[in-house]
Symmetry: C2
Subunit: 358 residues, 2 copies
């Protein structure tokens, strides 16, 4: 099919830290994006709002958005629980009437909405529900632990700290160095960007690890390094089950710990001031301990998200994290990602040496 041109719906929530899907599509697929619909930010540009994305316009209505010539409307925010605000339905119907496809990563499948499904059928348009899991997922069998490439998983101190973005940066830089990589998408945004994957948070709970295993096996073919997008956090009260299922199913050899430097509380429970984020060394201990209960793994580097710090404080944050953990630390979006790339390649050398010896 022709590559789609997206109008992104992020109504009321187009922000640097909340409209995660919108922002990543703008960052990684700039040539496929025609505009953003957010009534609150209408009249501004992506650059104004996010600090990147250039002149991409923000519009205040579906009519204005459709005038920008999209071939698809993409849901660009992920509300807690993944359910769609009711009023969007009329907009999506309007988009279908106008000849657009729909792309969504919500837990509530657009294709199950009778009105939208019928309209899509009548108009000959497609609804892509990227979180709909494949049928017949397996229970994890442990096969991922034996694949030939090094498996790297990003893990986090919280949701929405940059686990996917870090992994995409590393993938690109490893490719620049001639390493054969495969990025493995485990969430709706990664799937939008990469074109394949499984949203592991949307599968039936017994199959989280099985889905991760299937992805790693598929990603391993012809790759030297498989870079798996992480999900959630091991101490996130709502999503830790997804995080651990992914950790045990993917059997990574190396972990990159991702953190937003200024964050003090787990974000989804911030208002109740529940769950202060512990030190990075505590996360290293937690992930390595619980991970190694199934497969030996080490945190090999720290990826910081410093988007809301001035440059001197951002560089300082990287130094502090490196000193605290004894690991290479950088913001791979803002600064040179090479310290993390080097850490991954060293991990591969160590792993291969250990396999030959053992």
């Amino acid at each position: 099919m022709t590559a789609p041109r997206f109008l992104i719906v992020a109504d009321g929530d187009f922000e640097a830290m909340t409209s995660k899907t919108a922002n990543s599509v703008i960052r990684f697929l700039p040539d496929r994006t025609v505009g953003v619909l957010d009534r609150q930010k209408a009249g501004r540009t992506a650059q104004d709002v996010l600090g990147f994305g250039g002149a991409l316009p923000v519009v205040g209505s579906m009519r204005e958005g459709l005038a920008l010539g999209p071939t698809a409307v993409l849901i660009g925010i992920a509300p807690q629980g993944g359910r769609m605000p009711g009023e969007w339905r009329a907009w999506l119907a309007e988009a279908l009437d106008h000849g657009c496809d729909l792309w969504s990563g919500l837990h509530t499948f657009l294709g199950d909405d009778p009105l939208l499904a019928e309209k899509a059928r009548t108009m000959g348009r497609k609804i892509f529900d990227l979180r709909r899991p494949p049928a017949d997922l397996p229970i994890a069998s442990g096969l991922a632990k034996s694949v030939e490439p090094l498996v790297v998983l990003t893990v986090g101190t919280d949701c929405n700290v940059g686990k996917m973005t870090a992994q995409l940066r590393l993938t690109r830089r490893l490719n620049d160095r001639g390493v054969r990589t495969r990025f493995v998408a485990t969430g709706q945004t990664g799937i939008m960007i990469e074109g394949w994957g499984i949203a592991v948070d949307a599968v039936v709970a017994d199959f989280i690890a099985g889905a991760a295993e299937r992805l790693v096996l598929e990603g391993a073919v012809g790759a030297d390094v498989v870079l798996v997008e992480g999900q959630g956090s091991i101490n996130h009260p709502g999503y830790s089950g997804v995080t651990l299922g992914l950790l045990h199913g993917a059997c990574p050899d190396a972990l990159i710990l991702c953190h937003q430097s200024t964050r003090e509380y787990i974000g989804d429970y911030r208002q109740a001031a529940w769950l202060r984020i512990p030190p990075l060394t505590e996360y290293v201990r937690l992930y390595e301990t619980i991970g190694a209960a199934v497969h030996p793994m080490k945190v090999v580097g720290i990826s910081l998200n410093t988007y809301d710090l001035p440059e001197d404080l951002a560089r300082r944050a990287c130094e502090v994290a490196a000193r605290e953990t004894g690991l290479p630390a950088t913001d791979p979006v803002r600064f040179d990602p090479d310290p993390l790339v080097d850490a991954v390649l060293s991990a591969r050398t160590r792993r291969d040496r250990a396999r030959r010896a053992g």
Copy 2:
């Protein structure tokens, strides 16, 4: 409705350690069970096969089973992955034709089978798919950490070691002592026995903890102690995500660690000799560490399953476990469950004291 009388289908798999659902229904609902269908064990009794269950007959065909006068046919084995062997479909259709309801805890819902659904409709019978999750589950909000009763969760060294059975024994004994309890079922067998609950392994992955939280909030009403049925194991490569989601969503104060004394490997990966079961002290450390990342919790006792040991070795195993962990240890099915009951009541006193002080 009238209490059902069950014919249990456990074909090819009616055994002490494999037909978990069948065995628990026989143990806890003996008056509602008329027979077991297993072609391999036909002609024997439950007592012969399991060591309990008395004269309950095992039959070799659906025709013989229906002659025993059941009002419902219950799927009594849980194959890995929860999917139904194809040949059972004809038997279930025969049972519907004969006027029986169907009860199933499989991941594949019987009610979604066009043949069975149509037959049930025609015959005016019901299909109970106990693993079908409720609509609109929440993302966990942390409310479970503040309920008034003590929350006790059984955790395991593996699947199928006795987490539900231990909890049901403790519930009964606490009731005998005048403590107001509520058993919270989190799996299909517990739901069959208790009549309510959610199979947390069958919900969409993002909602595991939310389902656990909803169950604890419901169970907390009017109870002094809430006893939550555990699932899986924190180091089970396939199901650890379910285990952790339940642990973080339920926010238990006290854990009972369950273990089958003779087991050396995680059962589902035994053939590959993958994953030797580490010492009990290692499990205590893992569960307390990862649990406390969200809510403070302590392992307060060890529940052993010694069904396959002679009595002297079984008693010895309890002593060794108690010495190794410094915690009360017993087999609550075979021996006196009071050491665990006392441990739960002590935990309640300590928790209440801490809350008043804090």
